[in-house]
């Protein structure tokens, strides 16, 4: 991912900032600049999520692209945030720990890097809630 492409979403990726449509009250993460329900009549503002959520489904990635190969195996999940939206994320736990319905919370982590000397991509992962 190019530096500018990563950089422009740093607030969203680092701090789990999505959007909210104040017309209908629906939350979006990943952020959307157009509400699918209200479309042009929707008013979109930023919203910081609490980071609490539940694992909807998951897998353990054993074979990855070159960028992620050195971190396999890792747990990848769809997490539903308590505010409603769902996102795709890694869960920092062992493959054996992962379950559907597991409660998780967001943490700031290193996600990937563009090769040995490229940009380090930090972002949000989730960890099990004790």
């Amino acid at each position: 991912m190019s530096v500018s492409r990563f950089w422009r979403k740093i607030p969203q990726r680092y701090n789990l900032i999505g959007t909210e449509c104040t017309t209908c009250g629906r939350y979006f993460f990943p952020p959307r600049s157009l509400c699918p329900d209200c479309r042009r009549s929707g008013k979109i503002v930023d919203h910081k999520f609490t980071g609490e959520g539940t694992v909807v489904t998951y897998t353990v990635i054993r074979s990855a692209s070159d960028q992620f190969e050195h971190t396999t195996p890792y747990v990848l999940a769809v997490v539903e945030l308590d505010e409603g939206p769902r996102l795709t994320t890694q869960v920092a736990c062992t493959p054996e720990e992962a379950t559907i319905g597991m409660r998780v919370r967001s943490v700031f982590r290193r996600v990937a890097a563009d090769g040995e000397s490229g940009t380090i991509h930090y972002g949000t992962k989730f960890v099990p809630v004790e």
Partner: protein, 386 residues
């Protein structure tokens, strides 16, 4: 709108063609289709080519012109258009050709698909295929394409009665069919144990749940039905051409285990053709992973949610079964050159309806093709009739 017919088909062998270039794969399939149709290059009014990612697989864009050029059609100056919808590119190219002919804009049109995937390493191709999903918010987190389908499988198995063995039966059945298909990448029979003892790719999916990396091309010739007789006595009619979209990301779907775009495209196709499920004699569905075939059979309405695994294990989808699925071997055994797959599905149905499918021949007069892009963000469904 005019009725449309397929009058010629051509397909290269699917596999790892180290010695054959992107353009030569296409030329081979195109020549086979034209010969089969009994038309010459001068007759062709337009060309549509499905291709997912030549830009990344062989660092070549502008595929429409390249293909027309190397097919010897540059001096005819015909319109040639590349169509892209990830793994549904081929089905979509066929749909564009059907629309062009049905509308009356064009008469003799070639719809083709081509993908050359083995010029890059596995890691690079895993990364490219992930761009069929949302690069910014799925790929960034480390999602692979098998990983996304594995999350569908886990959700499905959590909610419905599907055993790991039943899932493996999909691959066993498709290899059995592939073994009877001279163009298939894998012509070896396998057992449930082969699948269950293969390495894990993304839990619960193992290597033998996944379609392979493949080079290949396929082409068909479509004309208005009223002109089909000029060329052949065995024209196959296009009874329906439907397409639907959904969210690009799996996480935004209404239901993780249901491809709503498959449901929508299937319903539209049945309505267009004025047919019901009982009228369909065979299905070519998009089994990029074993779980995808299970979902496809259900989402197209051939059984209720949660039943396709049992039906597969009982043999209902095998060659002699109630509704044969993926007689070609499917993406799993025939191979999956991404942009070519949707056209190969059409080739398989035409060859079955003409009674030319040899050792895998089924008794069929009407067939349905189901081609998926990404994890279900695009679905194209066609119904063909003898």
């Amino acid at each position: 709108m005019r009725d449309v017919a397929v009058i010629g088909i051509g397909c290269t062998e699917f596999g790892e063609h180290w010695g054959t270039s992107f353009r030569d794969l296409f030329v081979k399939a195109g020549a086979l289709a034209l010969e089969d149709a009994g038309v010459t290059g001068e007759n062709i009014d337009a060309l549509y080519v499905g291709n997912m990612s030549a830009g990344r697989f062989v660092e070549q864009e502008h595929i429409g012109a390249l293909i027309a050029d190397y097919a010897g059609l540059a001096s005819n100056n015909i319109p040639s258009t590349r169509v892209e919808a990830a793994c549904a590119s081929g089905g979509l190219a066929f749909r564009q050709a059907v629309i062009a002919v049905a509308s009356g804009m064009e008469d003799i049109v070639v719809a083709a698909g081509v993908e050359k995937m083995t010029d890059v390493g596995t890691g690079a191709s895993v990364d490219m295929l992930a761009s069929a999903a949302d690069r910014e918010w799925e790929g960034f987190a480390g999602a692979t394409f098998p990983g996304l389908y594995a999350m569908i499988a886990n959700d499905y198995m959590h909610r419905y009665p599907l055993t790991r063995e039943q899932l493996a039966q999909v691959a066993v059945k498709n290899h059995e069919n592939g073994a009877r298909n001279p163009i298939a990448q894998f012509r070896n029979r396998i057992t449930v144990d082969t699948v269950l003892s293969s390495s894990l790719v993304a839990d619960p999916l193992r290597l033998f749940d996944c379609s392979p990396i493949t080079d290949g091309a396929a082409a068909v010739v479509v004309v208005p039905l009223e002109r089909a007789r000029e060329f052949t006595d065995s024209a196959v009619r296009v009874l329906a051409s439907a397409q639907a979209s959904d969210t690009i990301s799996l996480h935004d779907r209404r239901d993780i285990s249901t491809l709503d775009a498959s449901v929508a495209a299937g319903k539209r196709a049945f309505a267009q053709a004025g047919l019901t499920h009982k009228d369909i004699d065979m299905l070519e569905v998009h089994d990029c992973f074993t779980i995808a075939e299970i979902c496809a059979i259900e989402d197209l309405g051939f059984c209720k949610k949660g039943e396709a695994g049992r039906l597969t294990a009982e043999g209902a989808t095998a060659l002699g079964g109630e509704i044969p699925v993926n007689t070609s071997g499917g993406l799993k055994a025939c191979g999956h050159p991404v942009g070519a797959t949707g056209i190969k599905q059409i080739c398989e149905i035409v060859s079955q309806l003409r009674g030319e499918a040899g050792a895998r021949q089924v008794d069929a007069e009407i067939g349905m093709a189901h081609n998926v892009g990404g994890t279900g963000a695009t679905v194209v469904v066609h119904i063909l009739g003898a």
